[in-house]
């Protein structure tokens, strides 16, 4: 580790840089502060032993060179300054909300980072549980909502971990043998990790290939579904269904092109085109991205 306080050779001493870090986050204490070399994977131990009050500062003597700074506050927010502190760096760095890691929150449970990415269709992850033989108790992270496409950075000690994740409708996903540290550093949570997947709520159609349609709208049930062949043949119309979030149905289709139109309980419509190949089982997730543009005028709001 390069950031040991130096007491060695004269050459080393000349490379020491004095830095004052100020907590400029109002009303919130900084409870831990990590500074480590940009080329290192271990963030080391906290550089402060007592909480850094708002508007107070701490002076540090650091070796020169690129490094990362990561601070955690009492609310669990993290503040990151990556790789921008060099020999000619300022003497003072103010930690404030400009540095908060909104998009990639950090959770501090050790020295090495593990990125957990939500690669699900539509559903956010609300709870992450990490277990390991080395842990006295599981690490439970339940104060972030990790939306699809987002990730969360968890700092863990060396070890092999198991992960349980619970999405916003209560389904559990599981992954074992996650090694920390690992060169990949990113673990994606995908729908295939789900424990006890629910069976389809229904089967329809008389085609030769099963096609799965899943409601991946987290807060709306699908109340209408039309599957229309693009060749003008008769389609399938399901008008009075209630496909709950996470539920799916199986539609047996013949190979060909189809337009699929779904309506949710709020009367919003979702449209997608699909191509059903021979003998290939497809899975369609109805997600918000397929929301149809509805530009119609709203009903009069204030009837006088």
């Amino acid at each position: 580790m390069i950031f040991l306080l130096l007491s060695g050779s004269a050459a080393d001493v000349t490379d020491i840089h004095n830095l004052t870090l100020v907590n400029n986050v109002k009303e919130v204490e900084i409870i831990s502060l990590y500074i480590w070399g940009s080329d290192q994977s271990d963030k080391g131990n906290s550089w402060i032993t007592a909480a850094l009050q708002s508007d107070s500062s701490v002076s540090l003597s650091l070796p020169s060179g690129k490094c990362n700074i990561l601070a955690f506050d009492e609310l669990g927010n993290s503040y990151g300054i990556a790789g921008n502190y060099q020999k000619n760096a300022p003497d003072t760095i103010e930690i404030d909300l400009e540095h908060i890691t909104f998009g990639r929150p950090n959770v501090d449970n050790g020295h090495y980072l593990l990125n957990l990415a939500n690669s699900l269709n539509g559903f956010a992850l609300d709870t992450l549980i990490l277990s390991s033989a080395r842990l006295y108790e599981n690490i439970v992270i339940d104060d972030f909502r990790v939306f699809p496409g987002s990730s969360i950075t968890i700092w863990l000690d060396k070890g092999i971990y198991s992960l349980s994740a619970i999405d916003q409708i209560g389904r559990t996903y599981s992954a074992d043998s996650i090694t920390v540290p690992d060169d990949r550093r990113v673990v994606s949570i995908v729908s295939g990790m789900i424990i006890d997947p629910a069976p389809p709520v229904g089967i329809t159609g008389d085609g030769s290939v099963p096609f799965f349609i899943e409601n991946c709208l987290p807060s709306a049930s699908i109340t209408g579904l039309s599957i229309l062949p693009r060749n003008g043949a008769d389609g399938i119309y399901l008008d009075s269904i209630s496909l709950q979030p996470g539920a799916h149905i199986v539609v047996n289709l013949n190979p060909g092109s189809y337009s699929i139109l779904a309506a949710d309980e709020f009367n919003a419509e979702y449209f997608v085109s699909i191509e059903q190949q021979d003998a290939e089982m497809l899975r369609l997730a109805i997600v918000n991205d397929y929301l149809q543009h509805d530009f119609s005028f709203p009903p009069r709001r204030r009837e006088q």
């Binding site: 109002k26 908060i100 909104f102 807060s219 709020f266 929301l291 005028f297 709203p298 006088q304």
Partner: protein, 625 residues
């Protein structure tokens, strides 16, 4: 529920249907105005007033009246429009019949056909540009088309307090009610608004030529100069008041120019009504008041009209601005909010707190974020936007310097020069501010053509000059943005084939927040109030949409508050939801100003609801704390 494909507009039939509805609106103005102009007093004192102007005033009155009864709806207003349009069609038919029975349209100059074709081509392609909905242009989506939309939804002209621009005078927004009421949905409404505004530029050419007595053979030069001016086109094809102000300012000045140059001593008050409308369309029209007053001053000095004339003019000029100023006063406590000089009078809720945001600095084009430009470079850019009108103006003036009535022409050109100097100073740098200084471009072109008229080869030289300048401006040496021939040809192809094939331009600009806005429309209660920390566009939203930086009570969030203060501000505003750009709630690094940002994603206070296209919506839950 109805859904609209974003490219339904891309067809000749759809384009024609849009044009037809715009024509209906103009016929309605013409019909109502023609009836008014039959009144004796109008004929006596408003000889130079185009019939559409009183027609516009009539319809502004009708919208106000319908608003009083809360029936200003998409059902009731069209009834009045159709009635007026039918009247207008009948009157026009009778007039044209009478006109053609007296004379016939003879083309004595066959060569005029070529520039005429170019002019028609420019006009049609300009309309096609306006027929493409501008999805990501802030001004329209923040306020200018939002107001007519909300008024028609609510059945009345109400004061939308979530946009400070509601305090502006709103002649343009009231006129936009007419095409808006004929729209089928919000995309269609956007297109009609754009086409209506662009049609103002064509209309101002027509009416100005009639006032100046320029025959139809001057129309190619006028059309190429004005419709071919890319800056005019750019700022006239949005559904915002620029073209309306351009329309009124041009007509007002042209009426005065007519009186100056033809030494017309008759008592005419038309210019004052029109200038009053200009002043209530866009606040930058007040700068055009300078040349207006210079010309009026000359007319007064020269003709020595009676006190009654001067007083009547002043009253007519100020009556409309005063009406809107009183409305603004009732709501805000000052007459010209948000440009309030008397801040002590301002109601506390409208007082914008002094917040020093990086965003505001970035919006200041003379700030350090933008390169400064030199004195001559600035002048070059400013007049570069004038296209051929500056050449017509200067050419016409110098070529007729030995002709009689030089004083009048000198007064007019001096008035233009004063306006230009003011624009150059106030709207620095010109690459940004030229858009505010374009109000005199059409009148410069028309006045220039008028000066070419007595010359032996005036028509030929003026037409050649405009064509030549147009084609020079179509090359890369153009000092401004331009809509080239290739772009226009591909546009025509796209409309015909219904397949977008314009090189380098998307069929539609992307509006990044559109997905989350439409999701909110269908998934949140109608009476919700949404606070956006950055995104200002509210046009497509069905909800009360407040922008934290632009709405004075919400801007207090950026002051030195504690979290409890911020929660109190949000509660007072009845905020239900907060929308932010994911991972970047305050672009330009202004995050530090708001304590609430330390609670984003932390569960209790701001409960994350949905994330679409990089935008996240949170439910504001102070009761959870």
């Amino acid at each position: 529920m109805g859904s609209t494909a974003l490219t339904d507009w891309l067809s000749i039939s759809s384009f024609s249907w849009s044009l037809m509805r715009i024509a209906i609106v103009w016929f309605a103005f013409y019909g109502a105005g023609s009836l008014i102009m039959r009144i004796g007093v109008m004929k006596k004192y408003f000889r130079l007033l185009p019939s559409v102007i009183p027609g516009m005033l009539i319809y502004m009155g009708i919208t106000a009246l319908l608003s009083l009864f809360h029936i200003l709806t998409r059902t009731v207003l069209p009834v009045f429009i159709i009635s007026g349009a039918l009247t207008g069609l009948v009157i026009l038919y009778l007039r044209l019949k009478k006109l053609f029975s007296r004379s016939s349209l003879k083309i004595r100059h066959p060569l005029i056909i070529l520039p005429l074709m170019l002019a028609a081509y420019l006009l049609v392609t300009n309309l096609m540009i306006a027929g493409r909905p501008e999805m990501n242009f802030n001004d329209t989506h923040v306020t200018y088309l939002v107001q007519p939309d909300r008024w028609l939804n609510d059945g009345q002209i109400n004061f939308l307090d979530e946009t400070v621009f509601s305090a502006f005078p709103m002649t343009s927004e009231m006129l936009l009610l007419l095409p808006s009421s004929l729209a089928e949905d919000r995309i269609d409404q956007l297109i009609l608004g754009q086409l209506f505004e662009l049609s103002m530029t064509a209309a101002l050419i027509l009416f100005s030529m009639v006032i100046l007595g320029l025959g139809w053979k001057w129309s190619p030069a006028a059309l190429i100069s004005i419709s071919g001016c890319s800056t005019v086109l750019l700022w006239s094809h949005f559904a915002k008041p620029d073209a309306t102000a351009l329309f009124f300012v041009t007509l007002a000045l042209i009426i005065l120019i007519k009186q100056i140059l033809e030494r017309d001593e008759k008592f005419d008050l038309s210019a004052f009504v029109v200038m009053g409308l200009a002043l209530t369309s866009k606040l930058t029209a007040y700068f055009a008041l300078v040349p207006f007053l210079v010309m009026w001053g000359y007319i007064i000095l020269r003709g020595k009209p009676g006190k009654y004339h001067v007083l009547s003019g002043a009253v007519l000029l100020s009556i409309l601005p005063l009406i809107f100023a009183v409305r603004t006063f009732i709501h805000t406590g000052t007459f010209f909010y948000p440009h309030a000089s008397l801040k002590s009078m301002l109601k506390p809720e409208w007082l914008m707190p002094q917040v020093d945001l990086t965003f505001f600095t970035f919006n200041n084009r003379s700030s350090e974020f933008f390169p400064s430009i030199g004195f001559f470079q600035n002048i070059m850019h400013y007049f570069g936007t004038w296209n051929s009108s500056i050449f017509l103006l200067l050419g016409g003036f110098f070529l007729t310097i030995r002709n009689k009535y030089l004083t009048g022409r000198t007064i007019v050109i001096t008035a233009f020069a004063i306006y230009s100097v003011i624009s150059l100073i106030i709207f620095y740098p010109a690459w940004w501010g030229a858009k505010y200084g374009i109000l005199l471009i059409p009148s410069a072109a028309l006045f220039g053509l008028y000066m070419f008229r007595p010359l032996k080869y005036g028509l030929l030289s003026a037409t050649l000059l405009t064509v030549l300048v147009y084609f020079i401006y179509d090359t890369s040496i153009s000092p401004t943005e331009h809509y080239g021939l290739r772009f226009r040809n591909e546009l025509i192809e796209s409309y015909i084939s219904q397949e977008w094939s314009v090189y380098g331009a998307a069929v539609l600009e992307e509006q990044p927040e559109l997905g989350i806005t439409l999701w909110m429309n269908s998934h949140l209660p109608d009476d919700s109030t949404v606070l956006s920390f950055y995104l200002p566009k509210r046009y497509f939203s069905n909800h009360r949409w407040i922008n934290a930086m632009q709405y004075p009570p919400a801007a207090h969030l950026y002051l030195d508050n504690c979290l409890a203060d911020e929660i109190e501000i949000l509660e007072k505003l009845d905020i239900n939801y907060i929308v932010i750009i994911e991972g970047n709630p305050a672009p330009f690094d202004d995050e530090n100003r708001v304590e609430l940002f330390s609670r984003i994603g932390r569960g209790d206070l701001l409960e994350p609801l949905a994330s679409i296209d990089g935008h996240t919506i949170y439910r504001f839950c102070p009761s959870n704390l």
